[in-house]
Amino acid sequence: MMNTYKEITTNGLWKQNPGVVQLLGLCPTLAVTTTAVNGLSLGIATALVMAASNGSVSPVRRFIPSEIRVPVFILIIAALVTVIDLSINAFAHPLHKVLGIFIPLIVVNCIVLARVESFAAKNVPIPSMLDGLMMGLGLTLVLGLLGAMREFIGKGTVLSGLDLVFSTLPKALYTMPDYHGFLLAVLPPGAFLGLGALIAIRNWIELRQLAKTNTSLSQLKPVLGH
């Protein structure tokens, strides 16, 4: 049992990472990652929705006729997203203004439905919740890294917008003095370039690990094929 949990965790965070391996849910990945805080916030909101949707589909999976499973899943996901949307609006209002339209869009983020359909509909509740959470955190990791890269290169800041989440925190942890900015990183092409760099880095690490364990080239091919 412990092994299953470990596997679910490594799958979500590394092996089957939604952001850089499965490449699902690219709309928010590319659109909100103008700063690390935006990326992390939407990532955490998505992770919460995923843990909750996997956790609520799994116990009732036997009562859902397979013909109408997709409408039921969407209904459950939509309800949970609305709950998160209202909660953020009520308790982190400035952040809600920034994330704006992207929170409702979690409903149609295909990674959420993908995990419900491929995991929660076939497994017991606790592993399902863990799977949702870990897949969500895997995505959060990518959103956070991509956001951090884009804001540092584009604007020369580290964690700007912290004050939007908690009004007592500073505006940014670090701001590079006299930095004129590199606009491309903040604009949409920067998101594609940054994501490409992250995928390349992940594949490079994966290849190095495989090379260390002396695997033959034939086993390397599936990794290269991503």
């Binding site: 006729p65 013909e67 209904l75 209202l86 909660s87 009520a90 209002h93």
Partner: protein, 218 residues
């Protein structure tokens, strides 16, 4: 049909099956709706409070707190779509009063001629017609280029502080490139041009309508 019953609507196997699944779907919809109604109910008050707070914090930036003593959110005038303000829907103007005397008004204006999309502005004008402050509420200008009109990206918007149509002639209400007095950043002229124009038209609107705006007494 395995028995002798006539093939009516209700024992049609497709209808039977559909009814059963529809009931399941309805049950899920019902549970989901209950959950949403509950969460909506408990978050309604905090959301209204945060919205009010955010609004007042914005007002504070453009109209110093010591210049009025009334509740801005309560004393309002509705303004129908107006060409000078650029609003396509009815907007709310907030009236500031100090010891019962009108001290100023906060108007919302929309510039439709920005570089990309509308620029929503909030403009505070004192009773004497001078501008107390301007802020950009929403815009879609290019990040890093046109977005210096936003206070989080620069102080440009404070150029309007204490401006008025008495102080600055109509011909001067333009960016420097067009022969006016307002500074702009090279490479992004369309954005400030739109904002200057919108603020100018708003002050004109104020001069024309101040009697109506300040007529409210409640």
């Amino acid at each position: 049909m395995e028995d002798n019953m006539p093939n009516t609507f209700f024992n049609n196997p497709i209808i039977k099956h559909a009814s059963k699944t529809a009931i399941t779907l309805t049950a899920f919809a019902f549970v989901g709706t209950i959950m949403l109604a509950y969460v909506f109910d408990i978050t309604r008050a905090p959301i209204a409070a945060s919205e009010k707070e955010a609004r007042l914090a914005l007002f504070k930036q453009i109209l110093p707190e010591n210049t009025y003593d009334n509740e801005l959110l309560k004393e309002t005038v509705q303004i129908a779509p107006n060409e000078q303000l650029g609003n396509l829907q009815t907007t709310t103007a907030n009236i500031a009063k100090l010891k019962g005397k009108t001290a100023g008004v906060i108007l919302e204006a929309i510039a439709h001629d920005g570089y990309s999309g509308d620029i929503k502005l909030l403009i505070a004008i004192r009773a004497d017609g001078s501008i107390s402050g301007v802020r950009v509420l929403a815009h879609k200008e290019t990040p890093g280029l046109g977005d210096y009109i936003d206070i989080t990206h620069g102080n440009w918007i404070t150029l309007f502080n204490n401006e008025s149509i008495n102080k600055t002639s109509a011909a001067q209400w333009q960016v420097k490139k067009d022969g006016g007095k307002f500074d702009y950043m090279v490479g992004a002229t369309i954005t400030p041009r739109a904002v200057v124009n919108a603020v100018f038209k708003t002050t004109q609107f104020f001069e024309k309508n101040k009697k109506i705006l300040f007529a409210v007494d409640n």
